[in-house]
């Protein structure tokens, strides 16, 4: 019988396999950030161990760092301690670190692909659940806890039980005005937050093949939001094109050998998936969440659902609780929900193509009164690229705030947080209670919906925007 792409990659990384034990997998790339690594380095120190392969390890600062006053030390002392601890650990253990102020600093999942470190056929791990992002290149990439971070640092390997295999067949084509973000939000609503549990998921089908690399990263990024161990997409010309020429991409004969290997990483026709789910991309319209988990979403054209109509008792109670937390009433059209803050950024939608799209939409328009838009590039290089293209000027002229790179309001570890009761439309990936600040209320949206919402002051899609005034751009 044939193998799935994930099985091929898995098998190619087995260091040791023994009946009754999980496989020991070799890890090709270990990414590190300041929040989930200090205790791992401590563990190494306590047991007198070293980092086995500093050359396969990369650290960056992203979760804690401020997006304003970048020339000053971090004001929050605890955050600063955590960042400084990472710097000390990187120095002591010989790990390359891209600190604040470095051209290559940024959100760990933006930086890896940008440097060309993320390539097809790899195993990539990081003490961060959105490591699934790197699966867009046709890699097995997943988040790990701090004990596992220590394990990978010490051994460059990880013991893992082989997950089951699932295929997500995305048929049809995404309609204009609908994005990869809408696709993944619609899929999670269909499959619920536990639907992918225990599986490595392969996204396939014509709609997936048509996506750019950055769109594929948006899709794979949210694999964890429906519980999947990892999500991946078969590498193809789009992938090779993206990787080629980047700083850490192979060159010359190495490139040819790599591409030859990468091309072998497609699922065989007679491979077996333990589960197959289907979604028709052509039926998807702009999608938004109304609740406090990423599966609680509806098309923007719909209304806040009525928990009473939900059959499953747990889901029903969860929906009631979510509406209470979100301050919403069943039956309210989603478009009638006013929004205070719009956050454009994160490892889901903080890449250059996201910012280009957002800038194009906002050009000549103004942020609504009583609403603010925060634009936070995913990395320093994304910020510089955007500034070179004049996108920052477009955002600022529209009344949006242009910030430094980092995770920022995606999780509110830095000063960018919501206040209790404040409502946001966010291009990030989690609408959990308090995720963006205690008491904050989050609606997950695409960059397109984010901009339209910021301009109109309520949840909206670009189609709702009045035409740009004729004087714009003059």
């Amino acid at each position: 019988m044939g193998k799935t792409m994930a099985e091929k990659i898995w098998d190619d990384h087995v260091v040791r396999s023994h009946a009754g034990e999980p496989d020991l997998l070799y890890i090709d790339l270990h990414l590190i950030h300041e929040v989930t690594s200090p205790q791992a380095f401590d563990g190494l120190r306590l047991s007198g161990r070293s980092v086995r392969r500093p050359d396969l390890t990369l650290a960056t600062e992203d979760h804690n760092i401020p997006t304003t006053d970048l020339d000053k030390p971090i004001a929050d002392i605890v955050s600063r301690t955590q960042v400084e601890t990472l710097r000390r650990n990187a120095e002591e253990f010989g790990v390359r670190l891209y600190p604040m102020g470095n051209l290559d600093q940024g959100i760990v999942h933006v930086v890896g692909p940008q440097l060309g470190l993320t390539q097809p056929g790899m195993t990539v791990v990081c003490g961060d659940s959105h490591t699934s992002t790197h699966g867009a290149f046709g890699s097995i990439a997943f988040g790990i806890g701090t004990s596992e971070v220590e394990h990978v640092l010490a051994t460059q390997s990880l013991s893992q039980a082989k997950p089951k295999m699932m295929a997500v067949e995305v048929t049809g084509a995404l309609q204009p005005g609908t994005t990869a973000k809408d696709l993944i939000l619609a899929l999670i609503a269909q499959e619920t937050t536990g639907g992918g549990q225990g599986y490595i998921v392969e996204y396939r089908g014509e709609a997936i093949e048509a996506l750019t690399m950055e769109e594929r990263m948006t899709v794979c990024n949210m694999s964890i939001e429906w519980g999947a161990k990892a999500g991946l997409i078969a590498p193809d010309e789009t992938t090779f094109e993206f990787v080629k020429g980047r700083q850490h991409a192979p060159t010359g004969a190495e490139w040819d050998a790599a591409v030859q290997y990468w091309k072998s990483l497609v699922t065989d026709d007679d491979a077996h998936f333990d589960k197959v789910v289907t979604i028709d991309a052509s039926t998807i319209t702009p999608f938004v969440t109304w609740g406090t988990n990423p599966g609680q979403g509806v098309p923007l054209s719909a209304s806040v659902p009525d928990p009473a109509t939900i059959e499953d008792a747990n889901e029903r109670v969860a929906a009631e609780r979510a509406l209470e937390y979100m301050g919403l009433t069943a039956g309210t059209p989603m478009r009638d929900i006013d929004v205070d803050t719009v956050f454009i950024g994160s490892c889901t939608n903080g890449r250059i193509s996201d910012l280009r799209r957002a800038a194009e939409l906002i050009e000549g328009r103004k942020v609504a009164d009583n609403t603010r838009i925060l634009v936070v590039p995913g990395s320093v290089r994304v910020r510089l690229q955007a500034e070179e293209e004049g996108l920052d000027v477009i955002f600022k002229e529209a009344g949006a705030e242009w910030r430094g790179a980092g995770c920022s309001m995606c999780l509110g570890m830095n000063p960018d947080t919501l206040v209790p009761g404040e409502r946001s439309a966010s291009t990030s990936n989690r609408n959990f209670e308090g995720r963006q600040g205690k008491g904050g209320r989050t609606h997950l949206v695409s960059p397109d919906v984010a901009v339209a919402t910021g301009v109109l002051g309520h949840l909206a899609s670009p189609a709702d925007l009045p035409p740009v005034p004729a004087t714009a751009g003059v």
């Binding site: 260091v15 040791r16 034990e21 999980p22 020991l24 090709d28 989930t36 205790q39 401590d42 047991s47 500093p54 390890t57 990369l58 979760h63 804690n64 929050d76 955050s79 301690t81 955590q82 601890t85 060309g116 470190l117 003490g127 961060d128 659940s129 988040g143 790990i144 806890g145 701090t146 004990s147 596992e148 394990h151 051994t155 460059q156 390997s157 013991s159 039980a161 937050t193 536990g194 549990q197 964890i224 161990k229 190495e254 490139w255 050998a257 790599a258 290997y261 988990n293 747990n314 889901e315 109670v317 509110g412 570890m413 989690r430 959990f432 209670e433 308090g434 995720r435 205690k438 008491g439």
Partner: protein, 199 residues
Amino acid sequence: MEKITTHSGVAAPLKRSNVDTDQIIPAVYLKRVTRSGFEDGLFAAWRNDPEFVLNQDAYRDATILIAGPDFGTGSSREHAVWALQNYGFKAVISSRFGDIFRGNSGKSGLLAAEVDEKVVQALWDFVEANPGAPVTVDLESRTVSAGEGVDRIEDSFSIDDYTRWRLLEGLDDVAITLSHEDDITAYEAKRPSFKPATI
């Protein structure tokens, strides 16, 4: 790591589904660089609510948490496990755990016992009818039990063999792997040269 064989203690009913790791411990509490002290952040958003289960006298000293489905979904933060442990929890019972959370529990020595949804309901009913009465999680026999006589609840829970063995023995994962260092070295010798390096 301490060995775990069996644990009996007060069990608190956390009657919510989808308690993600941001609920278990919000991001602002993740800034410590040690493994201790995270109990302050445990369920931070709910801790000031007098109605919250851990604020009720009967459950204040709970060492077992009985949670709804999809406990520990979301972020990879092992701080969620540490927060529960720092507070005093030894075991969590649920019908479904977030993958990474369950993995982290196994590494840190928190027993994550996956049971049928009916068992969760039965245990909830039991601890609410008998607040403060002990519940037992026995890793050796893979069972959860509570009560006596006709009301006795006893059912199995699932945990993978390998994690169970490691917990029973209190083994250090890194040391186990390093005993296979030759295999790692042999693997490295045949890795393709086109694979990227960070330095």
